[in-house]
């Protein structure tokens, strides 16, 4: 009972902390998914390319990113890059820009590899006969992809893609270690001030759950709409 009261109290008194954290988490997640998808598409194309060097580079990148912890990748970009002279600039009117930039770069580079793999397996799950039939009629590779293969691949890709978005929201909590004021970071602030760690963490968990729940519902709705078309 007291636990619930404490939660209520924290929410009342520190709502601005949590709200700020949610905002930052959403900004990071949205940018990471957006950039990750954009580069993921190109990475998938490179991964399936007939040009050997392209294919090899893409494969190595994807395997390496998927085989190492996001935490290490993040540290590498935030601490490692400045050591070799690559720094993210500070922009006066965006507070903490260089931290955000490092966080978003790390998260997008990570997401890019997963998205590329999702796209590739979605395309390769389409029956090979579909491409062959289109080619045998006289369509080019590109036309066949666009007209026949991709529309079918999207149906395989979308569910996995939704999962990836949810994963990014959750995994983004890791950027708190480089001092970005995301939901996890702000939760720690509240704990530092109040010493009420369990209730504060409970609030964070509920908010994370609300964000992932809402986004997975939205994606599921989008999927249903696709299937009806």
């Amino acid at each position: 009972m007291e636990f619930i009261q404490t939660i209520g109290l924290l929410l009342q008194r520190y709502s601005s902390f949590f709200a700020d954290g949610v905002r930052n988490t959403l900004v990071i997640a949205a940018f990471s998914v957006l950039l990750g998808t954009l580069f993921g598409v190109f990475m998938a194309i490179a991964r399936m390319s007939k040009i050997k060097p392209r294919k090899i580079i893409a494969t190595v990148y994807i395997e390496f990113i998927r085989g190492t912890p996001l935490m290490v990748q993040l540290m590498f970009i935030f601490y490692g890059l400045p050591m070799v002279g690559i720094t993210f600039p500070d922009i006066a009117w965006i507070p903490n820009f260089s931290r955000f930039a490092a966080g978003i770069v790390a998260m997008s580079m990570n997401s890019c590899a997963y998205v590329a793999e999702i796209i590739r397996s979605g395309i390769q799950a389409v029956d090979k006969g579909q491409m062959e039939a289109a080619r045998s009629i006289g369509f080019t590779y590109g036309e066949s992809m666009k007209m026949v293969v991709l529309p079918q691949a999207v149906k395989n890709i979308l569910p996995a893609f939704g999962n990836e978005f949810v994963t990014v929201i959750k995994e983004s909590s890791i950027v708190s270690v480089i001092g970005i004021g995301d939901l996890m970071f702000r939760t720690n602030d509240v704990i530092a001030v109040t010493y009420r760690s369990l209730p504060a963490l409970a609030i964070a968990a509920l908010i994370y759950f609300a964000m992932t729940f809402v986004s997975s519902r939205l994606i599921a709705a989008a999927e249903r709409k696709m299937h009806h078309e």
Binding site: D127, E132, A133, S136, I137, G138, E143, P151
Partner: protein
């Protein structure tokens, strides 16, 4: 009178270290209906797929209407419009209804008007008894219906030759007849057809010539009646014993 439409010269094809076709040479005349028979794994599909370059020959050449398809700078997409292909698994486009399956090629490639393409498609659907299915999607059709539509789709591109890779092998027995019927009608219109098949009746009665392709070579190649009535090759004789 006869005119060569496809000439195959010293065609070899390997998958890695496995040589599937060994130095095959033959010609196909315009208007001919040729059956290709032989044991599983003998290279029939691979041979057929080399004719429209779905498989790239390891060596040798394919001349189609005088052009070497394996030559440099050949626009294979252009020639594929003239070489129809019908697959064992039908391969109708799953994301399109029947009408779209039929008109996509004529409209997008041949630049036919949508209206004209639909009119032609409908006329042919009528002929194969499927005029009422033009709005259906592939998953709503039986195998026999899908294959008849796949044949129409290929035919609508007005090809000069049509390749068939075991068009009835994935069908339930009661549907084989309807597809063979369509192919027989097609043969009677004078279409050049090369048909890989396990239907010996079709090979013997509809095709004018039959090729026995075995272990990557043409082991026997004769007018159909003669091949079935007087087989000479040892392995052909035992093959025919097994399938007849």
């Amino acid at each position: 009178m006869s005119e060569v439409i496809i000439e195959v010269k010293n065609l070899s094809k390997s998958f890695g270290s496995l040589e599937v076709l060994h130095n095959i040479s033959t010609t196909f005349q315009r208007g001919e209906v040729v059956s290709i028979i032989g044991p599983s794994g003998g290279g029939k599909s691979t041979f057929l797929r080399c004719l429209n370059l779905l498989e790239t020959p390891t060596s040798g050449s394919i001349f189609f209407e005088g052009t070497n398809l394996c030559g440099k700078g050949v626009d294979i997409n252009l020639h594929r419009q003239k070489i129809g292909m019908v697959f064992q698994q039908f391969n109708l486009f799953n994301n399109m209804n029947v009408m779209k399956n039929l008109t996509a090629g004529p409209v997008k490639i041949r630049k036919m008007s949508e209206a004209e393409a639909q009119e032609r498609a409908l006329a042919l659907l009528e002929k194969v008894g499927l005029a009422d299915r033009s709005d259906a999607f592939p998953y709503q059709l039986s195998g026999g219906q899908k294959q008849r539509i796949a044949i129409v789709r290929s035919f609508l591109m007005e090809p000069d030759v049509m390749l068939f890779d075991e068009p009835t092998s994935a069908l339930d027995p009661e549907m084989i007849g309807e597809v063979l019927g369509v192919m027989k009608n097609l043969a009677e219109t004078g279409m050049t057809m090369i048909v890989v098949t396990h239907e010996m009746r079709f090979a013997r009665e509809v095709s004018s010539r039959t090729i026995f392709l075995d272990q990557g070579i043409i082991a026997e190649d004769k007018p159909s009646r003669e091949l079935f009535d007087h087989p000479e090759n040892e392995r052909l004789i035992s093959f025919l014993k097994k399938v007849l």
